[in-house]
């Protein structure tokens, strides 16, 4: 965590990107709602504000940067050192990730407060959904972290991970509720999204917090999250075995 605190200014700058994206979509959809007489897809103007402010927070808690760094780790050999340690390198990444997010909350929370003051969102939190949101968000982080860590392993086979990463980021944009809440997507995309893990990584906790789900739906989704987590972990373990076996370090 100390390492993260050193670069406060660059921390703020990196956060601008993760704040501006939800703000853009918040404004776009509020405009659409206003043009449609105040509501679209079950969301009023101030509910879009609530949706995207909560989404910004959930995305902050769940995002990872492993796919950006894994390739250079292999290319420049840091991985060799990590492999010699007695614990799996994923532990270090997970604690880095959590530490960074705790430090960055000092930027995120003021941003949330400012956005609340500006956009006047309408929150309808309920006790049960707040309580269920805790495991939902933790599971969302777990699923996203495991899945993205697994995807990052592609760097063992190719040095050109950028095209793969970019495809993944495009897919997650649409299927995780960042471009639009699920209810506003075309029906075909909605049904594809429900078969993919991305909704459970971001949009589900957001909808839960906004009171868009019934308790039964919420519980079902948590079970699905557990299923995806088990699947992702299995994938991670088996792929990691194959990957490390064929890894040979370059250098001296």
């Amino acid at each position: 965590m100390l390492a993260q605190i050193q670069y406060r200014a660059s921390g703020v700058i990196w956060m601008i990107g993760s704040i501006i994206e939800p703000v853009i979509f918040l404004v776009v959809w509020s405009r659409v709602a206003r043009a449609r007489g105040g509501e679209v897809g079950g969301y009023a103007e101030n509910e879009f504000a609530a949706y995207y402010i909560v989404l910004m927070l959930v995305n902050h808690v769940t995002f990872t940067w492993i796919m950006h760094v894994f390739q250079s780790r292999i290319q420049f050999g840091q991985l060799s050192f990590q492999l010699m340690r007695p614990v799996h390198p994923i532990h270090e990444d997970l604690s880095d990730n959590v530490a960074y997010k705790i430090v960055q909350l000092t930027v995120m929370l003021p941003a949330v407060i400012i956005l609340i003051l500006i956009f006047q969102p309408k929150f309808n939190f309920e006790m049960w959904s707040l309580l269920l949101a805790v495991p939902a968000i933790i599971l969302a982080l777990a699923v996203r972290f495991t899945l993205e860590w697994t995807l990052a392993l592609v760097a063992f086979w190719t040095t050109r991970v950028n095209a793969i990463n970019q495809s993944y980021f495009a897919i997650i944009m649409f299927f995780s509720g960042r471009v639009a809440p699920m209810a506003l997507l075309p029906v075909t995309i909605q049904s594809i999204a429900s078969a993919l893990p991305f909704y459970y990584m971001i949009a589900f906790p957001v909808e839960l917090l906004l009171g868009k789900l019934t308790p039964a739906q919420a519980l079902t989704n948590i079970v699905i999250q557990l299923g995806w987590l088990a699947f992702a972990l299995m994938l991670l373990v088996s792929l990691w075995k194959v990957a490390v076996k064929q890894y040979s370090a370059v250098g001296n």
Partner: protein, 262 residues
């Protein structure tokens, strides 16, 4: 001016030769450009699935705006950002000394020192989407708006370039300036939509702090015939003013530069 074209030609050829060594990059860049364009178009499609106008803009007009967005983006990534990025590194490690001793204008040299030629794909794709937007629009674009579009696009180029020069010049005093270009890239994504839809505070940031409004929205307004004479004049005046200010600022920076190693 002749000097400019001669030097640009040389650096362009070096950039091309570098890229030719890695030919697979062409296909990867093609894929990435197409993907980001497809993502942006799909986003517009999803929004217009729910409405037929956004802040007074029709779908076809927003597609043209997206074309302008990619056109400007491609131009920045083709030469401005790689060249000035390299310049910032050179300030840190002292290689800039070699540039300053060359018998050509240093600002010119650092501005065109590196071409990423495959980024031209974004420019081409931008032009295609721009024309697509214009062709699907109900009313034809008049010659006058095309002319005004040309002027605003030139102004946009001058404003964006001057902005980057000012940003890069800061490297003479501050070391970790690459981070500041991150602010530009984060803010630039807001330019996929007309800045007029944003609340006033954000609109001002996107107009004055980061020149997204003049880079993308204003040329797109010119194309759709919704540009007021005042905006046109302020774009041109700002462009001229910024070119001079950035030049003056650059000279100030060079004067304070004392090398990094010797």
């Amino acid at each position: 001016m002749i000097e400019f074209f001669r030097l640009a030609n040389v650096f362009l050829r070096i950039g091309a030769m570098n890229e030719m060594a890695y030919r697979a990059n062409f296909w990867i860049q093609t894929f990435e450009s197409l993907l980001s364009m497809a993502t942006a178009l799909a986003t517009i499609a999803i929004v217009f699935n729910q409405t037929d106008s956004l802040g007074g803009w029709q779908r076809a007009e927003l597609i043209s705006l997206l074309g302008v967005y990619f056109l400007v983006l491609g131009t920045i990534n083709l030469v401005v950002s790689p060249s000035l990025g390299r310049f910032m590194e050179e300030v840190v490690d002292g290689r800039l000394d070699f540039t300053l001793t060359k018998p050509a204008d240093a600002q010119l040299l650092v501005s065109i020192s590196e071409f990423r030629i495959w980024k031209i794909l974004d420019v081409i794709l931008g032009l295609i989407v721009l024309s697509m937007g214009l062709l699907t629009k109900a009313e034809a674009t008049s010659f006058a708006s095309a002319l005004v579009f040309g002027i605003t696009l030139l102004a946009a180029g001058a404003i964006v370039y001057s902005f980057w020069i000012i940003l890069a010049t800061l490297a003479f005093w501050f070391i970790r300036i690459e981070n500041i270009t991150m602010i530009f890239w984060s803010m630039y994504t807001a330019g996929r939509w007309p800045v007029t839809i944003y609340p006033p505070w954000l609109k001002w940031i996107l107009t004055l702090l980061v020149p997204v409004a003049f880079a993308v929205t204003v040329p797109a307004q010119a194309l759709s015939g919704r540009l007021t004479f005042n905006t046109l004049m302020s774009a041109v005046l700002l462009a001229v003013a910024l070119v001079f200010i950035s030049r003056w600022f650059w000279k100030l920076g060079v004067k304070s530069y004392s090398g990094a190693s010797a």
